[in-house]
Symmetry: C3
Subunit: 263 residues, 3 copies
């Protein structure tokens, strides 16, 4: 596990992580990015999206409240990032819930070179062409195992594919790894999925191996969740503690708690 | 009181509650919906608003930061909901503060069949044609009693009308009921009004009698507020505890604390 | 120090503070405004921006997630505020990070009479024509002392100029003052800069002397930060406590803790 080494690099170099994201969890995305030690910036105007992406170290695209204007800005920012070799993380929020969402996500995947595509089982299942059902932003049914969906879609897309859930799956052309950190409380809080994508964005900003960045980010984020759960009575207290614990991670916690294995 | 029975139904069936809402409290709307056990989704693009509404169990429209594009999306989502018989909750935020807000709220009420229209005394007073003053999103003066305003506007609109305040009033063609739950701290926190509308949306998603859904939602929400106030030193701590207490409601709390009466 | 007197006036008169602000920290801007006792309203539609500004007691413009539509609304609201003599606070978020942001901020300063222009050293340095570097919304390098930048730009713009940082600088045509309140934790939390502008907006809503309004607001806000830091383990807990402490300020705390001096 290089998680602690990558985290130290984030804290030392304070990379800029550009987000074009949704209006529900935009604050949480910024907050978790900041807690891991990176600098978040949110800029969705077509007039500056490309320039902001070009000075950033990674770009997080989250389609939770997409509109045509937002998608246009994502394409501009994404092409700018691609020209500079800046990694893009796509959070496929709600893909499968409406045809519009699915179509626009597919357009982003086809128009841009995405480094990491992240979603829950239903969202990634939809992109992978596996029979799935997504209710709003929740995965309610998939007809295959997450590990198989991730492997299949990783081959098709060429990207590192992340499926979050009770167990997180990270699949890339070289293999699959499983992250068994996290806590059941994460499923009951609005924004934990979006924050996972921002965490990956922060790690990918300083680590060129995106499968390693993703698995290390998910391990650290999950550990913060486990530590937060110990002191939280409800979902909002948990969210606050989760972001606070992300800021307080250290080598000892990460080494003793990380549960990452190859599949 | 059927409040606990309805709450159990929400928790069991996890209905999707579609919101087109404002950018200030959008997270809180999602969080309280989730705490009551429903699944929130926020989707305001004209390209998917109708489809997202059609797969939802209720639709919450909140005009807190309205624009012409948002109103257009609300009309599309609302007509879709009407076609499917999905209940619509309208939160008339800031009506009376500017002529634009008043006009657009009236247009929604006239173009759509709204199940529940909710606001503070000044907002509903403005819609009811009662002399009122609204400063931003606060009611500062009304020239009639909330109960009379609610009754009048319920007759005119055909909707269940909710006026929130120290005492919440729910009026419909069959009667009026008063909800005496809640706590003074709720008035000092940004977002408590918006969350009340989302609570009603969650209850109306599983309860066809919208006056019952509204009064039970307000009782449960108010009880969560009373429990939160006991452990909170300031407004933000209170808001966190309010959402957490909503997730922790049980039969004993609801039965012993609910204060709902017919007027 | 008139800080407590001004705070009492805010609490007594509950002035309306109109914001056109960014989507990341919009809730926090509203919350801190409310905690100081003022009424926040956020309204960015061109159809009502001018009218909402005209009934407000101050106007806060924050370009954190600017678009051409948002800037147009700001100009409409700003001209309306100028006609009525309502003070405008501009938070120059991210100026210097992209040419678009810099150009639009300069346009606001040139088209409107701004009472208070606020930013970090890099943002104000950029506006003042001092060699500066801004990474996203963080100041990473300036080639002059904040006090000199503030003085220079205050002369050029005619506005009260505020540079926030470890020490806050308030410069106006009659002098410069330094506010030494605040805590290091403020730098690690997303939104503390934006909330400082809202705090100034709340104080300027009731105090005609905008340099006094700004320094008193920053002192009170900083004191709340110092009190919050004593009880906070991480950034999110700190933010919650900061807003709660702002609501709990009293004469004794302000008199004993304020550290404002003329330069």
């Amino acid at each position: 596990m290089d998680a602690y080494r990558i985290l130290q690099n984030i804290r030392k170099t304070k990379p800029l992580v550009h987000h074009i994201t949704n209006w529900v969890t935009i604050y949480d995305c910024a907050a978790i990015t900041r807690s891991f030690g990176a600098l978040p910036v949110m800029a969705h105007a077509k007039e500056e999206a490309a320039e902001m992406a070009a000075i950033s170290s990674s770009l997080v695209l989250n389609i939770g409240t997409l509109t045509p204007e937002i998608i246009d800005a994502m394409v501009l920012a994404g092409k700018s990032a691609n020209r500079k070799g800046i990694p893009i993380v796509l959070d496929a929020v709600g893909v499968g819930a409406t045809p519009y969402r699915t179509k626009e996500a597919e357009r982003l995947v086809s128009d841009l070179k995405i480094a990491v595509i992240k979603g829950n089982a239903g969202e990634i299942g939809t992109l992978a062409g596996v029979d799935s059902e997504v209710r709003g932003v929740e995965s309610v049914r998939v007809s295959a195992a997450p590990i198989d969906i991730a492997r299949k879609y990783s081959k098709e897309s060429g990207a590192v594919v992340v499926i979050t859930g009770k167990q997180d799956v990270v699949a890339w052309k070289g293999g699959v790894c499983l992250v068994n950190n996290g806590h059941a409380m994460m499923a009951g809080v609005v924004g934990t999925g979006c924050m996972a994508a921002s965490a990956i964005g922060a790690f990918a900003a300083v680590e060129a191996d995106c499968s390693k960045a993703a698995s290390c980010a998910l391990a650290c984020y999950g550990i913060a969740g486990e530590l937060a759960a110990k002191k939280s009575a409800g979902p909002m207290g948990f969210k606050q503690n989760l972001i606070d614990e992300a800021a307080a991670l250290d080598e000892q916690k990460i080494k003793s708690m990380a549960r990452v294995s190859e599949a």
